[in-house]
Amino acid sequence: MNRIDQLFAKKQHNILNIYCTAGYPQLDDTLTVLETLQASGVDMIELGMPFSDPLADGPVIQDSSTQAIKNGMKLSVLFQQLAHFRNHISVPVILMGYLNPVLQYGIENFVKKCAEVGIDGLIIPDLPMAEYEAEYKSLFEQHNLHNIFLVTPETSEARIRKIDSISKGFIYAVSSSSTTGNNKSVDLQQAYFQKLEGMQLSNPVLVGFGIRDKATFTSACEHTNGAIIGTAFVQAIAQPGELSEKITSFVQNVRPIPQQA
């Protein structure tokens, strides 16, 4: 069973997914970030594959990508870093990135490598749904990789239903029509989250874009299964200080680890 499905089978609320850019702040920080996030109690991790021209991202994530590329991060290096990560990391890990670097790596090779190291899902925002369905869906499924699709407040109900029908894992609900790192109010989007809730989709829904702290996380979780924090986390680990401490304290501020009974 895919780790994303395992997670949702045992937990349906307040799922916390944290985004970080691979190879950032330093090239070899990738595993430290993953380990510390897991130890801090996050439910899922979205690992960014840096790209020179990330169209859906705001300046913070673009700058972290530029830095990661300068650090020497590329897909071949990332897969080396991830070669044995499943020995000590059990939370679901999703790779997020743009189509072009994946195309150059070769989609088949990429998918095989993801399965080999233990990746659970992919978010490739500029891979068109029709092309995925026609050319890659069976390949992804064969390797037990969930392709995660985005929906926005402008996405029609018919298209949401279509996306739901070919999705596995969860649906990524973009909180407002925006790039990442904007500060449009999450509260104003409650009607949109309620609409998604009312549609009774077959997949869980996680909210992303604009989630940055405890208040926005709690608000986003009200009508959905959880939320994804990216920009605020990238900003937090860019501050001076010891990396693991910054990560632990960021996650604690958003969602303290519940006291064990």
Binding site: F51, S52, D53, L55, A56, G58, P59, Q62, D63, T66, I69, K74, L75, S76, Y98, L99, N100, P101, V102, L103, Q104, Y105, P125, D126, L127, P128, E131, F149, L150, V151, T152, E154, T155, S156, R159, V174, S177, S178, T179, N182
Partner: protein, 401 residues
């Protein structure tokens, strides 16, 4: 007016799924989907409406000054022992072919009920052409321009501001055209309802490459009529144009693509030399990939990061090429050549001294290849003179010293 002509059945025009051969498509994040779908579903319908065509035609005639002349360049023809005609897009209002597209797209945006216009620009020609039509129509205009290009192209920045546009510096990445395009796309993501994005070239997600080519197709529509009148034959032997993204070339080739006797010559910017590491010769140096929503040839590293190109001409300084040109190259229907910075400068001086016309640096790349093609004395050669050289005077004067 043939902007809405049916091109189905052509091997070189866009197909029903938005591809030119294996190039094109719409590789966009979900946030852009409603806007792009709205355009895909409506552009041909709107462009074929008689009222749209009348308004477009009237503005091209009385505002832009079309048809632009097809000028027989006698002394240039003498030098190369053939018959060279210059399509004088440099005489258009705002000084280049770019305005054909911005007029078309703003009329389209109005019919779609949009209130706000955004655009990217490199050298500033498309930014000026967009700011111009926004002033004409009374619409808000925001132009994204690389921070480095803003410093390099001060006169065009001043023109845009005088026209009432807001010029926003793109400070991400390499701070040039590629990044200005990223920023414009991000603006569109953040303003999904009231905003239309006027892309300046035959790039971007479907339908932009076809839509922009159609608005620019007035160039070859006029060439056919003008050649018929001047030579008794609507077809030239050669149609030559420079290619960055490739909008003037797409317009120059549009009505000749399915005429196999017409050789289509696209001239890319070789910069300091194709193998110098400072070049924008995309078809030679590029490989298949996705840039700005389109699958095409682009300059990239082995691991798929997009590479910053170089050309003396800011208008050709783009790491990709329109999918129509990638397909013309790939299918061998088109001939792709490249001209270095130095060749372009020499060609600009040659045209200026032989014909009294100062061309834009972009257009000079097309002119630079006249010396490298073995024309017959009877050949009819059309070169698209896509813009005038006023904006490049500083570069030209430095070269003179």
């Amino acid at each position: 007016m043939n902007i809405a002509i049916n091109t189905s059945g052509s091997a070189y025009h866009v197909d029903s799924k938005g591809y030119f051969g294996k190039f094109g498509g719409a590789y966009i994040p979900e946030m852009l989907y409603p806007n792009v779908e709205e355009l895909q579903e409506n552009y041909l319908r709107i462009m074929s409406e008689p009222s749209f065509q009348q308004e477009f035609e009237a503005l091209l005639k009385d505002y832009v000054g079309r048809p632009s002349p097809l000028y027989y360049a006698k002394r240039l023809s003498g030098k190369y022992n053939t018959n060279i005609y210059l399509k004088r897009e440099d005489l258009n209002h705002t000084g280049a072919h770019k305005v054909n597209n911005t007029i078309g797209q703003i009329l389209l945006a109005k019919r779609l009920g949009k209130k706000r216009i955004i655009a990217e620009t490199g050298a500033g020609q498309h930014g000026v052409a967009t700011a111009t039509v926004c002033a004409l129509m009374g619409l808000e205009c925001v132009v994204y321009m690389g921070k480095i290009d803003i410093q390099r192209q001060a006169p065009n920045v001043a023109r845009m501001k005088m026209l009432g546009a807001t010029v926003v510096p793109a400070t991400s990445g390499s701070q040039t055209l590629k990044d200005a395009t990223n920023e414009a796309i991000r603006d569109w993501i953040n303003n999904p309802v009231d905003t239309h994005y006027i892309i300046g070239s035959v790039v971007g997600p479907h339908p932009y490459p076809d839509m922009v080519a159609r608005f620019q197709s007035v160039i070859s529509e006029e060439i056919r009529l003008q050649l018929q009148e001047k030579t008794g034959n609507p077809l030239p032997d050669y149609a030559i144009a420079c290619v960055g993204g490739g909008s003037n070339a797409a317009g120059t080739f549009f009505h000749f693509m399915d005429e196999p006797s017409v050789k289509l010559v696209a001239v890319e910017a070789a910069g300091k030399g194709v193998d110098s590491g400072f070049s924008a010769a995309t078809t030679v140096l590029g490989s298949l990939g996705v840039i700005h929503g389109s699958k095409t040839l682009l300059m990239q590293t082995d691991d798929g990061q997009i590479v910053e190109p170089h050309s003396i001409s800011a208008g050709l300084d783009y790491p990709g090429v329109g999918p129509v040109h990638a397909h013309l190259f790939d299918s061998k229907r088109g001939i792709v050549m490249s001209a270095t910075d130095d060749e372009a400068l020499a060609a600009a001086y040659e045209l200026t001294r032989l014909e009294g016309i100062i061309p834009a640096l972009e257009s000079s790349h097309a002119l630079a290849k006249l010396k490298d093609i073995n024309f017959k004395p009877s050949d009819v050669v059309v070169v698209c003179l896509s813009g005038r050289g006023d904006k490049d005077l500083e570069t030209y004067i430095q070269h003179l010293k």
